[in-house]
Amino acid sequence: MKRRSFVKKATLSSFATLIGTEIIFGSKIMDGYIPLALQDPDPFKMFNKNKEMVVLNDKPWNIEAQAHLLDDEITPNSCMFIRNNGLIPENIDVKNWVLKIDGESVVKEKTYTLAELKSKFKQYTYQLTIECGGNGRSEFNPPAKGNQWTVGAVHCASWTGVRLRDVLEDAGIKSNAVYIGYHAADVHLSHDPKKEPISRGCPMSKALQDETLIAFKMNGEEIPLVHGYPLRLVAGGWPASVSGKWLNRISIRNIIHDGEKMTGDSYKVPCKPIAPGEKIKDEDFCIIESMPVKSLITYPKSGAIINKGKALNIRGHAWAGELEVTKMEFSIDYGSTWKVCKVEKPKNRLAWQHFTASIDFPQTGYYEVWAKATDSNGKAQPMLLPGWNPKGYLNNACHRIAVKVK
């Protein structure tokens, strides 16, 4: 027997032992190719993520950024959080990919290929802030169930696509339409083909906004697979779960969409404030719509040691769901006094806004720099946790970094 082919056959048989099954056509596998099942599932390589991203869950994939990784004005793919509810679809056939518009309130059901969407409708590009409804969940007490996001489940990328409104109007919207619900190609964790991992949506008013896109590009390139290739709904300022990935169907509903994770207590908070740990009925929950005002100090990274007499220049981003941030402040004395930061206008509606400030410290010692944004309705971020809710949503408490002056 030839030496190399013997090595190959021996290698494949050990692969087979490892995987627990024969490798069909094993002898035809290219030299140097490692079967998928044996590939190191390194998420950083697989998704092109920065090594400092934090993996919260690997089945399904949930990965978050740290504050200092979000320093760019437009978030690059490498630092964008991943929140998956199911398994990433495999074998995406772009040529035959279609988007179907249906539902009780569609005038005429229609389907569009990717090429049709791109050629038939005008394309728009917006920078859109997308934050997971559960960003900050890790701080709630009593703790809330689910992925324990800290601060990094937010990003503001540049999205290119067609307006959802243009497509819905092309199919026709009946006057009784109240909601849209999306459907997608991802696979339920149980592999049950009848189950959808997630199928959420938004009221018609949000669906018809200029900035609500059916996107096919992110930061000028095709959307990375993990972020929804080849088609994604993007609804800035609302919980990221409204921005459905791997989009293949949108239903125009005559009721509030009742898809997976639209019912029960998913992405809902108590309609009336409740005590920490209190239990309420499903009907006393309200669906989260616009996200609350929030900000992040993205420079410097927490833990900076500086010399006395040197000013510290900080910077970061602030956003306010459907609204705009009108004031940005910082405090180095736990909120006793606040000083104003310089904050830019958003690039477009629903884009996060950049702020800067220069801080002088009175003496050496341990400090925390706290940042507080105020929205156009006069609501500011709380320094403590906002109202407790069973699922741990909407924590918009002030972000802070530790600084030592020596």
Partner: protein, 156 residues
């Protein structure tokens, strides 16, 4: 005489040429035969050989009181949790969470109602007992302190 010598020289020349031709033929033929037997010999491109180290690791090994494969605390009921809970979702989802028995039970009920989790029978008590004992809620107040600060000199 010179004619004879001439003839002799010519024969010798033809003989040499034939010998050369024959040698070339033998070398070429030999090479071809060798190639048929061992085709990789003439492949001058270096093909990286995939070295596969098959580590004989026990998937259930425990190091420093932690089940290496899943990260679970080694305690009574752990393997029941591994077998029943990590088929559908990652152990990381459990490790992030802190709940009392009532809420771990409610979580199981939710998975049965919505996520195709079958009835766990007697195992449910073992699982909940393990989780509530090893992953109970911790009171963190209204706002936790900053912890695990990674101090560094900021270049200014």
């Amino acid at each position: 005489m010179s004619e004879e010598l001439d003839f002799y020289k010519q024969v010798k020349k033809v003989y040499r040429q034939l010998l050369l031709l024959f040698s070339l033929f033998v070398i070429a033929g030999g090479t071809l035969v060798y190639y048929m037997v061992n085709p990789e010999f003439f492949n001058f491109q270096k093909v990286p050989e995939v070295a596969v180290v098959v580590e004989e690791l026990d998937p259930d090994r425990i190091e420093n009181g932690i089940h290496v494969e899943t990260g679970f605390i080694d305690a009574e009921g752990m393997m029941t949790v591994v077998r029943n809970c990590t088929a559908c979702h990652s152990s990381k989802l459990i490790l992030q969470n802190r709940m009392n028995a009532e809420r771990w039970n409610a979580t199981i009920k939710w998975m049965q109602q919505t996520q195709n989790l079958p009835d766990l029978g007697k195992n449910q008590e073992i699982i909940v007992n393990y989780l509530a004992t090893n992953y109970p809620p911790v009171d963190t107040g209204r706002r936790p302190m900053l912890t695990n600060i990674d101090w560094y000199e900021l270049e200014q």
